[in-house]
Structure formats: structure tokens, C-alpha cells
Symmetry: C2
Subunit: 232 residues, 2 copies
């Protein structure tokens, strides 16, 4: 039976040390069809894998289906994450191919043909319920973030900062609305919530907290992770 790649246990170990407490955000880089790089801070949500394949981890994060990163990822379904853990001075750079799971009700078309996949195809074969995962992900984020998904399109121009005070500031989980108005808002927010799946293909781990610094590159070849020691 395959085992989880070493980088993943090292990543979990690094995250668990007290000095890295709360380091749950990382920077997600994409490139648009014109080759322009984009990068923004995102919250890490989860790691999943096909049943019986701990060697094929998939990162999950949530976003607004109307956000520019979604159109960038539709056109160019690959991304790199830089996860800098300032406490221990570990950096994990995680590159992979991307699939987006949007609401069946969202105005969303898949875009570019899906890149070669192994983990995601296996999960599809195993009947993994991505829509259920999407709703679970929606329910797991905080009330402010839920509310952000029933606002006008992210990044669109508004007249003043005050306009934002007219929009809902918090929303409950799916099924927990307290009024008909709130129910409609939750429905809208849930429709705009998408999850981004990153099938991990390469990981570059730099340890700046050890002297001399160490750096290790992990590359997935088919189902195996190949490990190389490289110059930091």
C-alpha cells in the first residue's frame, strides 16, 4: 500500500510546532492567459486524497466563483502555493494542476480542458461527492466570509466604502437561516462559493531554520514521489 509523501508529514509536523500556530494562510499564484502572474493570500482549508491513495494529496481552498482567480484558473488550470511558516522558517512551495468545483446553479463553465489528473480521476471513479465537500467547505468558513459571497462581484467598482455597510456582514450555515431574507442570502452565497482543488505535483521545501539551510525537491512521477536534495 502506498504511503503519504514525506513532504506532507513534514508539512504537518512544521504546522504543529507552537511557533507556527495560526499559520493557516498561504499565497496562491496563478497566471492569466496573457502570461501575467497574479498572487493573493488565501486560507488553507483541507487536504483530501482518493481512498487507499495517501500518496495523491489534493489541497482544497474556497473562493468566490466570480473572482478573477477563477477565470484565470479556468483558462490556465495550474497554480503554485507558497506556504511560509515564519516561526520555524520553513517554506513549502506546492505546485499542481487545478480543478474548480462550482455550484450546479452557478453560471460557470469548466474552461480549458482539464489537465492530466490521477488523484481527481480516481476520486471521481470512487464516487467522491464533490458537491457535498463544497457545501461542507461553505459551512466551515466563518460567518463574515460566507457573507462576502452574497455581495456584488469582488473587485467591481463601488461609489464609496459606505456601500459595504448595506450588505449582510455575517451569514449562518446552510439550513440555519433565521428569516426568509437570510435564507435567500445564504442561497446566493452558497451559489457563489466554489472550491479550488490543487492536485499536488511538485513540492519544494526549504528549511531556513537549520544551519546550513536545507532544501528538498519532491516530484510526483506517476504515483511515486521522487525526492532530491538541492542547493538551498
Amino acid at each position: 500500500m502506498a504511503s503519504a509523501p514525506r513532504w506532507l508529514s513534514e508539512l504537518k509536523k512544521a504546522l504543529s510546532v507552537p511557533e507556527n500556530k495560526g499559520q493557516t494562510v498561504y499565497q496562491l499564484a496563478t497566471a492569466d492567459p496573457n502570461g501575467r502572474p497574479h498572487v493573493r493570500t488565501c486560507v488553507h482549508r483541507d487536504i483530501v486524497q482518493p481512498e487507499g491513495y495517501p500518496n495523491l494529496p489534493v489541497f482544497i481552498l474556497t473562493t468566490d466563483v466570480r473572482s478573477p482567480k477563477i477565470s484565470q484558473l479556468r483558462a490556465n488550470p495550474q497554480a503554485e502555493v507558497a506556504w511560509w511558516m515564519a516561526g520555524s522558517k520553513d517554506q513549502f512551495r506546492i505546485y499542481g494542476s487545478v480543478r474548480i468545483v462550482a455550484s450546479p446553479k452557478a453560471d460557470f463553465k469548466a474552461g480549458a480542458p482539464p489537465p492530466p489528473s490521477l488523484a481527481l480521476d480516481k476520486m471521481d471513479e470512487q464516487g467522491y461527492d464533490w458537491e457535498k465537500k463544497r457545501v461542507e467547505s461553505f459551512n466551515s468558513v466563518n460567518a463574515q466570509l460566507k457573507a462576502s459571497w452574497c455581495r456584488p462581484v469582488p473587485g467591481s467598482t463601488i461609489g464609496s466604502y459606505d456601500e459595504a455597510s448595506k450588505w449582510p456582514q455575517k451569514l449562518p450555515k446552510d439550513g440555519e437561516a433565521q428569516s426568509e431574507e437570510e435564507e435567500q442570502q445564504v442561497e446566493q452565497a452558497l451559489k457563489n462559493c466554489a472550491i479550488v482543488l490543487i492536485e499536488t505535483l511538485e513540492v519544494d521545501w526549504v528549511q531556513l531554520g537549520v544551519t546550513p539551510n536545507q532544501r528538498t525537491r519532491f516530484t510526483r512521477k506517476e504515483e511515486e514521489w521522487v525526492e532530491e536534495i538541492v542547493v538551498a
Copy 2:
């Protein structure tokens, strides 16, 4: 007389609050000629501008001229930085065109034609001494980082972590070597030290520390910065 863009004073203000102390690193995203995004953590070094043009700020960071980010930037001279200040929950995303200043002794060719520039061209006209700035930048980084520039090519494969212990761990400033061997090492490191100049063209500032969240987009049109309030 032109003035500095508001985003820059807000960035400096955010950096100066106690809860953001030490937030001097950010993530730099590039895209390679195949459209693959790359992102890594870098240390912010400086901001410069042409004399009399505080409206045209240029970010500076240091790197190894042999690193993959340099070949990516040669082929595609644009970059975006995500500067997340966890203390105050401010994010500044800074996009711009890139120029690389390498040592005259380095094996470096400029690559793609330089993108349209305003700040850098003005600084050239004003006789700004980029080589002097490069050497100053070299001298300003810590002794460990200086030493990293006289090692084998970053990212190249080595047999074991132990190999790194054979390389110098610290190097002094240019002109302060204590032996002939160290002098050669400093010379080598200085040759491999390059500075990356990012001429700022767009800035996206999100304030997650205020309720409701605020977001402002700044776009440079010719020499003017246009400011828009946008949906966070």
C-alpha cells in the same frame, strides 16, 4: 510637484504599527514562458524613485542571478507581490514591470525587450548608478545570505545535506574580507548578486482589519495614480 501615491503612505503606515513588526517578507509571483506560475517568499529591500518623482516608486529585492526566478523574469519581465501583514490584516498586492540589474561580470543577457518604463527610464536619464545600488544592496543583506551566493547553482541537485557544510556559511561586505580565500568568495558572491526592480503599476489594497472590509485599487495611468473603491 507630484506626490507619492496614497497606497505607498498607507503601506508605510501599516508597516509601522507594532503588530506588523518584522513583516518584511512578501511573496513574489512570476510566470515562466510556458505560462506556469511560480511563487516564493522574498525579503523586501528598498523603494527608490527618480529624483523629483515620488509618484513613480520602484521596489527592489535581491536574488541570485543563477536562480530560476531570474530566467523567468528575463523571458517575462513582470511580477506581482503579495504583501500580507498578518498583524493588521492588510494585504497589498503590487504588480509591475521588471528590470534586472546583474553584475557587469555575470554571465547574464537581458532577455526579452524591456517593458515600457517611466520610472526606470527617468532614473537612467538622471544618471542613477544602478551598479552602486547593487553593491549597496549586497552589503546590506546578512552574512548568511551573502554566503549563499557563492554556492553551486540554487536548486541544483546535490548528494546529501552534508555537502552544504563545506561551503562558506557567512561572508563579509565587499572590501572586508579577512583572507585571500574569503576575498575570492566575496567576489564570487557579489558577481552572483542581482537586484530585481519592480516598477509599480497597479496596487490592490485590502483591509481585512476594518469592518466592513475595505478594498482599494490604484492604477498608474501615465504619471498619475487613479484610485477606485472596489468590492472586497
